[in-house]
Symmetry: C4
Subunit: 273 residues, 4 copies
């Protein structure tokens, strides 16, 4: 009987065990929990919101901790039902060392340590960990695998354009260090410092915390900006194109699935006739 | 006879009742009124322009209020002539609850309350409402429906890219909160505060009111800027592409209408011969 | 005999009178004069360069004034040789009122008045006029006519996208005026003032002289930036595409001319054989 | 025997002498040396890193100087083995005046002078020279020749778009000088000074060190920004497209080489059967 229960739990928790599109009720609930827990974790960091409401935030955190712990244990329990892990001798042990299982475990940690107090650095580390619960969503969608495939196809371009961008960054920083180091030693006094100016300028962000003041520096900066902006944007463009590919493919898949449903619906009354 | 007058008023006010391209004289006058009223509403907010000219501005506002009130009542009167509303039992009541009729009603409100004085918050609310009179122009063009169609076609991409952009925003904010919260608690002291930096940086606006100061923060910010700028621009790009589609389609339609006129013109002297 | 001289002057000064590609020696000299005169006019405004060298700058200005005056008179003299002006009854009078002739006349003015001293406003006006001598170059190339044609083809898109950009600008300014007028009356106290923020933000320039400080203002600004940046860039993109078309066409023309030369060169030794 | 050794050294050092893809072990070691030497040269400029570690940095510099000197002498020695230089009467002398050989010589200079002390200007010059050792990597890849070819194909567009960008820059600077010179003489007091504002604005960097303050200046700046941003980005776009072409071609080449290996691998067991 336990095997029957386990099978049903497996079908409720493993997105790939479902035939149709969409998530099971259990997974929909978990997605909601992840989103609400992340939203609370974000608001918790803002004193204007959390001040005076610490007990409520701790209670919610505890509740989510319990839910995610139960989820973790259940997923460990059903690992042998998953054909992927069933191949191994100790499916649960193997599963426990999978990326998703480790993410699930890390997502429980913040709850365990949230009540221990501790210094501000440790506290902030656990708060950041809570946001990373969003990574638990990765299991729910195949988009990440699609993205990895799209990036892998373009890896040669990515490496070449990152090299070009890195070279542009390095030469620009060296030139600006050469031109401005005397005038502004705290901002251009070394090549790594000049690199901050370079990134801020070549991405066209331009905060205004660092800019050239000498004639030579301004002239060089103008040339660097005019020539370099397109080059630094190249890896960014390839990254965005890879994401765009994924978006396109998923749209295509959704359209095909919708077409197939439309095709199969009229044939359903057929056999009943 | 009243029906004959109503029919003629209907043909003058309803853009879809006209066969040819372009607007009727009455609608051209209304477009002019909307534009002038909006321009005056904008200038009215600027003390350098409006100071000492309050009576003139109030008089103009009153005149436009009367014009828009008359328009509102006339449109209510002619609703039964419109096949779209004639289908219903109470066409005028139905029309009165349509989006355009409510916009028309809201566009009269600022005039009614403009002379009651009132505090600065209420005053500003009615001033903003006056600018929204521009929404009255929506009736004059089918571009909004084209745009809605173009956006609906791309809704899957929009949702996916907004999710990606949101995820990039969240992870970047969390990382910068982690790196800079101690050094600049007022600017990076919580994840929502760090989000302002993230939006300003990833859109490449870069005001310079917030920027990292620590070594770790600068390094992370550089990586975030280099990797994230393309991703945050994706929904923006899809939005712009949808607008661009509309522009393309309308251009095509204008070209075809011009061709058809060119084709029908040479045949006109034909029958007269 | 004067007619023969005039014909030769016409062939030397009118770019369209030459059969081959490229400019005549006289026009090459004039192009050089225009560029050098403009460069000097630019440097003349910079006190660090011009201080103490005023006599040299005045002498050069005088020389260029004489050259441009002689050019103006010669062009007036040869107008009857140009088939375009020869059609009219008074070809020289007609030519004198053409755009290019008026530009030529305006380009002499700064020299005439340069020695009269005068206040700083008048002085600056003539300095600016000197830079506009660059417009004299317009005659040398057909690129401007190509550009006008490319822009005219896309006028419908330009008008539509400028309308969209204007609407986005107006709505954004109104929203930010509503949100920030109380907190920063000098920067967001009226809709025209908020418009400066809007342009600086939506073009992603982001000087940092104006930015929202309230919670509501920052949230609205974030949404405006994320949604609006692509839309404001649309007319800019169409303008750039029109320029790009011109560049493409001229490249094509240059390639064809080169091919034709290559085709006609081998046939030249043919008849000699 | 020396010729046999020289032949082997030639095959180890000259990338084109190798048949297969990839670099020889000797060249891989040199690439590593160049990268490490450049990284050290970058870190050496940062006092936070180099302070107190000067002896270690000098030692490393000395080691790289010896390695690069040996490489230089060996490359000089093997020049007659290279068919390219063997054509000439004095192959070694000819090689010594090639671009790569001069770069190699310049890359040794910083070591020779590093221990002579000297003022800050000279010191910085040699430090910058050390970064330029990265140019030694040029020999290892044919990407530079591909890039030169891609740029040469687009030279007409580059010249035309740079002219347009220059014209936009000049007219914008002149207009802003005209509008703002009185209000901000230190920032817009001359056309070259206004040009700095123009570059910073039209590339959308927008540091915020210079921006218009007058009504007229802000209006003009808004128009310049809206109209000019697309035009200034045109040469940048062509440059990026040329780089992108190179990336595309190299990817194609890598794919073909991989296919050829895949095709030739199955045929290898063929003859053995």
């Amino acid at each position: 009987m336990a095997a029957g229960v386990r099978q049903r739990v497996y079908e409720a928790l493993e997105p790939r065990a479902r035939e149709g599109l969409g998530l099971s009720l259990a997974n929909k609930f978990l997605v909601l929990c992840i989103i609400v827990a992340s939203a609370l974790a974000i608001l918790d960091t803002e004193p204007m919101v959390s001040a005076g409401r610490e007990p409520a935030f701790r209670l919610a955190e505890l509740a989510f901790g319990v839910i995610f712990s139960v989820e973790y244990l259940l997923r460990l329990w059903i690992a042998p039902d998953n054909p992927h892990w069933a191949r191994f001798r100790f499916p649960r042990l193997r599963y426990a060392f999978s990326v998703q299982a480790i993410i699930d475990l890390l997502a429980i940690l913040p709850t365990l340590f949230a009540f221990g107090g501790g210094g501000s650095v440790l506290l902030r580390f656990f708060r950041v960990l809570r946001i990373l619960r969003l990574a638990k969503l990765g299991r729910m969608s195949t988009a990440w695998q699609d993205l990895a495939a799209a990036l892998s196809e373009r890896r040669h371009e990515l490496i070449l354009t990152i090299s070009i961008a890195g070279f542009v960054l390095l030469v620009s920083s060296t030139l600006m260090y050469w031109a401005e180091a005397d005038a502004q030693p705290d901002k251009f006094g070394s090549i790594p410092r000049a690199m901050w100016w370079c990134i801020v300028t070549l991405t066209t962000v331009g905060y205004g915390d660092v800019f050239p003041v000498t004639m030579l520096g301004k002239s060089l900066a103008g040339l660097v900006a005019l020539a370099g902006i397109g080059l630094i944007a190249m890896p960014t463009g390839i990254l965005a194109a890879a994401f765009s590919d994924v978006v396109q493919r998923r749209r295509e898949a959704l359209r095909k699935a919708a077409e197939q449903r439309a095709l199969s619906s009229p044939s359903q009354p057929g056999p009943s006739a």
